[in-house]
């Protein structure tokens, strides 16, 4: 009797269910999109000094703040552009005092105080974000450039994260 050949059946192709993986990946993308600051050109990556008494920036505050970053090398960066207030580097980089003069001209001036005939005070506020290890001389140069242009509202950036032992 002829043996009947058994038909060899291939198992159906295994189909892994990708749905949970895609869910997780989408959740990760949404998380990174929310927490990331992609194009913040005004703020450089710096190690700021610690100050637990520093104020938190108020969201929606009307005043405009010019972020001045003092890099560990002493170079000043404003909107990713390098400047200097160091007389020894005056030819190499644009002069900070001239930049602040132009910047302050775009803001209103407050009425001068009686008996003080100098440059009327500017409404511009400058936030100095200096690296914690940078020499104070470079911060002084920013202060000096501000004072010469009547900018009196300044602040020093600091981190509130507790430094670890």
């Amino acid at each position: 009797m002829a043996k009947r050949k058994r038909k060899f059946e291939l198992d159906p192709e295994p189909k892994p269910d990708l749905t949970p993986m895609i869910d997780i990946v989408f959740n990760l993308i949404i998380f990174f999109m929310i927490v990331s600051e992609l194009s913040n050109l005004t703020v450089e990556q710096l190690q700021l000094p610690f100050a637990d008494r520093s104020e938190e920036p108020r969201p929606g505050a009307p005043e405009k703040i010019l972020q001045v970053n003092v890099m560990p090398t002493g170079i000043v960066k404003i909107r990713s552009q390098a400047y200097t207030g160091d007389p020894q580097l005056k030819g190499k980089y644009p002069w900070l005092q001239e930049f602040l003069e132009i910047e302050a001209a775009g803001y209103e001036r407050e009425p001068p105080e009686p008996g003080q005939p100098g440059t009327p005070p500017s409404a511009l506020r400058v936030n100095i974000r200096a690296d914690k290890e940078v020499k104070f001389q470079y911060v002084q140069q920013v202060f000096d450039a501000c004072v010469r242009n009547g900018i009196y509202k300044t602040s020093i950036g600091a981190t509130r994260d507790d430094p670890k032992n």
Partner: protein, 178 residues
Amino acid sequence: MARRRKKLILEDPNLDITPMIDIVFNLLIFFMCATKFKTTEGFIMCFLPKNRGQGSGTPTIDLNEVRIKLLWYGDDGKPTNGDAGYVVVKIGDENYNDPGHFERDLRSTVPEKSPVWTAIHDKLNAFKAGYKGKSDKGLPVIIDARKQVPTKYIVSVLNEVVRAGIQDVTFAAPEIEY
């Protein structure tokens, strides 16, 4: 004649999701690399003198002012203009640390947490309580730091000044070298 029924074959639509997964993974890698986590960044206000531009008048001096000096000492224990050195914090003639204290302090390897700042805070509170000047803003404090001092020490002093509730803070002008 019986009509033969046609068998209805349902086709399983095969959606190829490989390109979508590729793009999604690329997006994920991009966001992971480009992410800078927001840090808790704050600021300390420091108002500079108004009207000190060209042709300004002479500022008045309050004799009750407190001057916090951040000096720069060399290895020999004397003030130096060199890049290598140590910070010494002084109020009046009183030293708050010895040269190299912040670097040697075994209780805390972080200078920002040094007990020096607590001592300065207590001293400022004592000055504030005993202030007899006439300024509306209260006790005037001047922070006088040498140019070589790292900014973190100036911010630590400023932090203690703010903690003591002092409103009139000024930074001394840099020394003019001859």
